[in-house]
Symmetry: C2
Subunit: 255 residues, 2 copies
């Protein structure tokens, strides 16, 4: 018989009760002291069990308040439509989608000149230390941190499109602005990965332990070369990415 350690028994028992609805999303778990009595374990052992659930993203704890079962409402992003090739737009698609979902979007924005980080330089096909324009966006939905988005433009493009260095939004959208200058995005290459957040990411996105981030790197191409590289970091518990490929005329649009 595989005897589980006590703290795992605690975690498993609580997980079952969360799954079967004893503790529904948003409700509070019993206090450590109560659980300690119930499982005949020391407070530290109960804490070890609870910590497992926290790192698995099932519950979150806060000092003075207790442990609360997490609840998510995921936001669905259609990445194959997000910046439609025929209707190029900037971050506007984000505001539009969020508003359409009845939520309130907000963001902070800044522009910097930066030497290209290695992975960006590779994707933009420029030298690793060459200058790029970084347009950085920190996005919130109903004041909850949602994602960060960092778009790098190569130096040669800035010469053609000086407004890229303007500190504010470009009203008509950067994609539109660039297209008007003869630099049209005709394709994208998307890379999607996941991992646990770095301390910096955890701070910006205000994620606790147990919530991974979804990393989305989009490299945009003209018919000649890469013209931008956008790295978006999503809270993994609040976001889903969708792609449409081929003919989907048979699809019910129920969502």
């Amino acid at each position: 018989m595989n005897k589980q350690p006590k703290y795992r028994q605690v975690a498993d028992a609580l997980r079952r009760e969360i799954d079967n609805g004893t503790y529904p999303p948003g409700s509070r778990l019993p206090s450590e002291a109560e659980l300690s009595t119930r499982f005949d374990a020391s407070r530290n052992t109960v804490r070890a069990g609870l910590n497992l659930l926290v790192t698995q993203g099932l519950v979150a704890s806060s000092q003075g308040l207790g442990y609360q079962v997490t609840k998510h409402e995921v936001f669905k992003l259609n990445a194959s439509r997000f910046e439609n090739l025929t209707f190029p737009q900037n971050g506007d698609a984000y505001s539009t989608d969020v508003t359409a979902a009845g939520r309130r979007p907000s963001q902070t924005f800044r522009v910097e000149l930066q030497p290209a980080p290695k992975h960006v330089a590779e994707r933009l096909e420029v030298a690793a230390d060459s200058t790029t324009v970084l347009r950085f966006c920190h996005r919130f939905v109903d004041d909850v941190p949602w994602s960060t988005q960092a778009t790098h433009y190569p130096e040669w493009l800035v010469a053609k499109a000086p407004r890229l260095t303007e500190p504010g939004d470009i009203a008509e959208g950067t994609t539109r602005y660039l297209a008007d200058l003869g630099v049209t995005q005709v394709g994208y290459f998307d890379e999607i990965t996941t991992r646990m957040p770095t301390p910096e990411e955890a701070r910006l996105l205000e994620v606790g332990a147990g919530v991974p981030v979804l990393l989305w790197t989009r490299t945009g191409y003209s018919d000649e070369r890469p013209i931008r590289c956008t790295v978006t970091t999503f809270r993994g518990d609040l976001n889903q990415m969708n792609y449409e490929i081929g003919d989907l005329s048979a699809r019910e649009v129920s969502e």
Copy 2:
């Protein structure tokens, strides 16, 4: 001044040393006892710090061996080509890609009849309790668990395509087989999310704490209706998904 708790100082110090190459991927960290001396902290405090790094996926521990810095080689899956509409193929694309990378693929496979789980029923647009054929695949690369893949086919399709219930592989590929019967997949809808693994997923994929899973749900459509729903569960530390959209003729294929 924001004084960090001691176990965070331990974690931060070790993280810096991992980042700057003091402890390169694959190397071992000092023992808990040594770290305890170095940081003038109790063994439990050091363990709390190390546990942070473990849940962040930076290091892995094993009894009797110590803590080892994790190393990853990510496998890149081109999801927009994986089952090319013009060259339909089954799991073969997986073996082909893996072999091309100089790795050795293997898999276990089984077929079951199952009532449609809720999320599958929605996507296949069938009743929630209707029967589906489940073709399930557990994939390994060089004997490391890589992903699980569960494809559900609706009951009405099985009537047309009885070989779907055959327990073995379909030699020419299921997509090909279905196309020959007049059921052609003309489009896909892909959904990508991430979260921490359930205990069951952790067991199948042999992931330790701190490694999220990447969930990929692909619903395939004929020109009339959905014909299959495939849910793939990847180890997030070993996999990346790529999509190509639009015209990428300018892209250097360096990988």
